[in-house]
């Protein structure tokens, strides 16, 4: 096995991790602060992809398309929060799961009506379409490097926002005691709307970034949403730092598992058994990771509520 192949898979794992992080960041903030289980988060990821596809085709520029689609997703998120999700804060988690599941069906249907049942492909601009040469003779797709780069920039930006700014302090304070935040003069409703919009925008960004690889497709948010929930549970609900570390861990472990587990099993098992078990086991790896983390740290790696 060549080292370049390993590095390439590692980068693929990072790239998946970065996408998971973008999705998990909003999910963990919303769950951590508003105590809202939002299954429709994946739908926002999907709609972000469709926004970007439409805008890219209309403006003939992927970058411009994203720049316009981001505020569109922000607004979509804020509107959804005000119209639908706000009423769910006071309800139990089961009600929230049911209501947001209904929202998934509704939004899938809405996308079908607006954009039709077929997926939308996004052409990449030339400067992102090729490959870059890395040390060790590795040739890696430029666009995947671009995704990793964006993810790291967003992660740093979010870290700064949450740990250094006034808004970030209020977000953390709101996670521990929202009544008190309100009683000290902060409009917690508006804070929630803003946080929800921010989370929606990040989920949308993940959808926009994946669209040139996988197309914008109805239902694209559902599978990855489950992974994103696993990520926030591992990372500690409410924690951005936890979401980042868990997302990268999950992305790398999942990708490496798919690439190498069968090779590893081949050394232990007969060939046909290894080939059968490899894919099944590798898709279970991150759930296994979650189970192990929860045994030792039931609150996740970085529980947000007690510091």
């Amino acid at each position: 096995m060549e080292i370049s192949f390993v590095v390439e898979q590692l980068l693929n794992g990072f790239q998946l991790g970065v996408l998971l992080f973008l999705l998990a960041a909003g999910l963990t903030l919303v769950f951590g602060i508003m105590d809202l289980v939002n299954l429709a988060h994946g739908s926002i990821y999907m709609i972000g992809a469709f926004f970007a596809a439409t805008m890219t085709l209309a403006l003939d520029s992927f970058i411009l398309g994203i720049v316009i689609a981001l505020p569109m997703t922000l607004i979509l998120g804020m509107v959804l929060e005000v119209l639908a999700l706000r009423t769910l804060y006071a309800r139990g988690h089961m009600d929230q799961v049911l209501a947001t599941f209904g929202l998934i069906l509704f939004l899938n249907e809405l996308v079908r009506i607006i954009w039709g049942p077929a997926g939308l492909a996004i052409p990449l601009p030339l400067f992102l379409d090729g490959s870059v040469s890395l040390p060790l003779g590795i040739v890696y797709p430029t666009y995947r490097m671009f995704i990793i780069l964006i993810g790291i920039i967003v992660a740093l930006g979010l870290y700064y926002l949450v740990s250094k700014t006034r808004l970030g302090m209020l977000i953390r304070a709101g996670a521990s005691n929202r009544t008190m935040v309100g009683a000290l003069g902060i409009n917690i409703r508006f804070l929630f709307t803003a946080v929800f919009g921010l989370g929606a925008m990040l989920a949308g960004l993940a959808g926009m970034l994946i669209a040139p690889i996988n197309q914008a497709q109805i239902g694209m948010g559902e599978d990855i949403l489950i992974l994103a929930f696993v990520v926030i549970v591992i990372g500690g609900i409410g924690s951005i730092r936890g979401a980042f570390i868990a997302a990268i861990l999950a992305g790398v472990i999942d990708t490496m598992g798919r690439a190498f587990l069968d090779v590893l099993l081949l050394a232990l098992l007969p060939a046909n058994a290894a080939e059968a078990a490899g894919p099944a086991l590798s898709s279970m790896l991150i759930y296994f990771l979650m189970a192990v983390v929860l045994i030792f740290r039931p609150q996740g790696l970085f529980p947000a509520r007690n510091g």
Partner: protein
């Protein structure tokens, strides 16, 4: 400045306030006294818009604030130091102070972190500690500092010194005396009748959700019967 008129409020299963009425004048230091479970905290929650008022009206500086959203009441100029302190454990002391701070343009000498530290020097060493790492006394000082940083015209303290060591208590009392000299209006709930008689202007005794007596410090000091009957002194 604050006027509470015949306020009633209930928890799910039971009514807790029955025609609660009292007022606090500008630059006045007023107390709510009474045994546990008589409705003092409930009164504060109703004033702050945390618990809905079912009847009656509350005015702050001539403006009705009954059942406004909590943040609007705070923004109107009321600073709360709640029962149980309720500082943000996952924020540093500095962050606790600045997260909700506001500095209205019409305030002459606005509160700053430096001034809070002058008031409670111990917080200086703690600025970068998490709120949850502080002792009870430090948490109370932080809660007072946090409320002052909103530059309130009325400061409310619910159980100002409950559960604190005597030394810390006297520090809190001397802080309140200082604030009082600076003409800060203060509404305090506490069980230290003797100290309160010394530093407060007027008192209300709360019994089963309404006021049963009100008077000045001198009147309360002389009325041993009253102290015994309602305050268990």
């Amino acid at each position: 400045m604050l006027s509470v008129n015949s306020v009633e409020a209930s928890y799910e299963d039971s009514q807790a306030l029955f025609g609660m009425s009292f007022d606090v004048g500008t630059s006045e230091f007023v107390t709510l006294l009474g045994r546990n479970g008589m409705g003092k905290t409930t009164t504060i929650r109703s004033i702050m818009g945390i618990l809905p008022v079912t009847s009656g009206k509350i005015y702050f500086e001539e403006r009705e604030i009954t059942n406004l959203a909590s943040f609007r009441i705070a923004q109107a100029g009321i600073g709360l130091v709640p029962e149980g302190r309720q500082i943000f454990p996952n924020l540093t002391v500095r962050e606790n102070l600045i997260a909700t701070a506001v500095r209205p343009s019409d305030v002459k000498q606005a509160w700053t972190i430096d001034r809070i530290i002058e008031l409670f020097p111990i917080l200086y060493e703690r600025l970068n500690n998490m709120g949850g790492q502080l002792s009870g006394g430090e948490q109370q000082m932080l809660a007072i500092g946090r409320a002052l940083m909103t530059n309130p015209r009325l400061l409310i303290l619910d159980e100002a010194t409950e559960g604190l060591a005597p030394k810390v208590r006297s520090e809190i009392w001397s802080c309140l005396k200082t604030l009082r000299q600076e003409a800060q209006a203060i509404l305090v709930i506490d069980k230290n009748i003797e100290t309160l008689i010394e530093i407060a202007d007027r008192h209300y005794i709360v019994e089963k959700g309404s006021v049963v007596w009100s008077g000045t410090s001198t009147q309360l000091r002389e009325n041993k019967h009253l102290q015994k009957k309602y305050l268990g002194v």
